[in-house]
Symmetry: C2
Subunit: 393 residues, 2 copies
């Protein structure tokens, strides 16, 4: 698939260890409108601090990203390294330094190996490094087991355009897009202020409704660049074209978000958690996130145990308003709990059947009012422990 005016390249800089692509570049032929959402963690990696500053320009030409090292908790040296990486790219590309953004993912607290990054940068501009979205997605993987790519095509006033994106995730996903990088590009022409608004909304209803392990990283970055090379009339807020663009953007981000959950560290289950009947949508999200983040719930999913009691307990401490005598709970379409108590009969056996599936839903109806929320999560397995106990070795 072609996204007009964007080029991707990736090289091996042996940042953590040799043997894989770990330095990548997204380059737009022309200045592109840019919007981004960054980690809410108070401890922010150097590339996050630098990109936060530069994205306020609203325009960018390039994003250079490395895996294998987060360049976080690296002090002033880390900031200097992030700036230098961007400058090296800017010089080669012949663009202003301020138009180059940076992102990093990997181990926290080790200085970037600039002695290996410096000589690797020129390679990003050679034909041999040119790659497709899949290659780009591969080069930003850390503990991911598969590259995450999504794209979709539509028209604005008869002009075809594409939105495409890559993501890396795996562990530490929640709340608010933890250890997550996602880069989305589109050749549509989009009004910059509208792009910023619509991208934040799309992130909220995609990356911010998934949860793997409850941790939030120092490096999260989700970014969109719109270069207008499709030559459509610029998409403006409040038009039918904007509605279509928004829907498409959310679709791409949600696909990436779901892929991230499916590839949660050690995950064997993909679970959709729906809470309905809450006092408000915010209450519903609190309850759904408490379920999604409960270790007891997640280990029960791994054990294929229809342990609805742990789910109700999680709702109980979530902070959401609840009357325990009104609650209903289902696994897929199997009703387990009505008015706060087990329905009996063969529900246990039928619920257990549902839990044996690789993908299922949990619905909790609080029966108080109309608030609702859906989040996605995975189970907690032995492999999660192995992956994270041995990560740096």
């Amino acid at each position: 698939m072609e996204i007009k005016g964007f080029a991707f390249s990736a090289v091996e800089a042996a940042i953590k260890k040799p043997g894989r692509l770990d330095l990548a570049l997204i380059m737009s032929e022309v200045p592109a409108a840019v919007a981004a959402v960054f980690t809410t963690n108070r401890v922010k990696a150097a590339p996050v601090l630098l990109s936060m500053e530069r994205v306020t320009n609203g325009v960018a030409r390039a994003m250079v990203v490395n895996s294998g090292n987060a360049n976080a908790c690296t002090g002033s040296q880390g900031m200097a390294d992030a700036r230098e990486t961007a400058r090296l790219v800017a010089e080669r590309a012949g663009v202003a330094e301020e138009l180059v953004l940076v992102a990093s993912t990997g181990v926290i607290g080790k200085p970037l190996p600039m002695e290996r990054i410096r000589p690797a940068v020129p390679g990003l501009f050679e034909t041999a490094a040119v790659t497709d979205l899949d290659g780009l997605a591969r080069s930003i993987m850390t503990t991911d087991t598969f590259p995450k790519v999504a794209s979709s095509t539509s028209e604005a006033e008869g002009v075809r355009y594409t939105i495409a994106g890559v993501a890396k995730g795996a562990g530490m996903i929640m709340p608010n897009m933890a250890t997550m990088l996602s880069f989305v590009v589109t050749d549509a022409a989009v009004d910059p202020a509208y792009l910023d608004m619509v991208f934040r909304n799309a992130v909220d209803s995609s990356f911010n409704i998934i949860s793997i392990d409850g941790d939030t990283s120092t490096n999260d970055t989700a970014l969109v660049m719109a270069n207008g090379m499709a030559a459509n009339p610029t998409i403006q807020a409040g038009t039918p074209e904007a509605d279509r663009f928004e829907k498409l953007l959310r679709e791409v981000l949600l696909s990436l978000a779901r892929q991230i959950v499916r590839d949660g560290e050690g995950a064997t289950k993909f679970v959709e958690i729906r809470v309905t009947g809450a006092l408000s949508d915010a209450d519903a999200k609190k309850a759904a996130m408490a379920i999604a983040n409960s270790l007891l719930v997640k280990t029960a999913f791994f054990g294929q145990d229809a342990n609805w009691g742990r789910i109700l307990a999680a709702v109980g401490y979530s902070g959401a308003e609840i009357d325990q005598d009104l609650v209903a709970l289902s696994f897929d379409n199997v009703l387990m709990v009505r008015n706060g108590v087990f329905v009996g009969g063969d529900a246990e056996a039928r619920g257990t059947e549902v839990l044996r599936k690789n993908e299922f839903s949990v619905t909790v109806d609080l029966a108080l009012a109309g608030g609702s929320a859906t989040v996605y999560t995975s189970d907690l397995s032995h492999d999660y422990v192995s992956i994270n106990a041995d990560y740096r070795t």
Copy 2:
């Protein structure tokens, strides 16, 4: 050890399965002043609801407790069963029903097997059932691997008294004493209003500063009964006797709390988390709890990986005020981070040595002001996943 006027007994009612003591009784010869702290979970088990109501009397004679079944999410049948259990004990003991409290721990959502509890109650009053604190502690174990007992003796105006307690914990410990039962008895005479105040403080600085897995249960109950049989002049607030009593009570509770962490499900490490230099004590506790509850931190502890970056990341999302350029971090006495960056040298090797120990401390100094907090936690191991994936089977 004797605690004057208290008797303990335990029998097998085969509540979950046969082969162990699972129904126990704590009985005071005379009405005792009582104070208790219960789960903050909005979903409360029937015995919690009943005991919350009865403890407001300020006086009690007995606590009957079962393991193997939580009697939670059991609706009106659950309330009836909790009441009946208390009534059966009250009738046998010849005391008013309102003076009998109840507690349960175990699986959520299954009705109490009253057909097995009813015939087992009389046994609690037979000589064969008489047990010591250790036997009492054993009878309330679920996934605990050892019974948890603590006691201490002091004097009030020349009269000797004892404070002794048992606890069960294991998983789901935090915040606010999750899936935790603790029963403390003393033969001291203590002013009831003072007892209530001092017990809440002691719970706050013991059971509420430990964390195993971040879940909060439906059944938590911590209770103290003071029957005055030591015949000391009643301990009143604001006296030197009260100071001594408070110190002793906290010591007993803290010992039980530390035993709970040491026996965290699958735990291989006991870790003291100290945060200093915070804007306030509350901020320090937020930061310490975020570290204690981070899965990434806990799996790194299990992997004996001196991964200080994950610890700083947890502080970063804790909600505590932080300036990442000021932070210092140590494992025991090994300084790893100064001004937010790794100190270099042989710190990595020395830090890793510390992490190999079974017990160590993590100190994070935020260098902002004088707020501090200490919490205790364990690591997250493969066994935690196994225990909780297979719990109901």
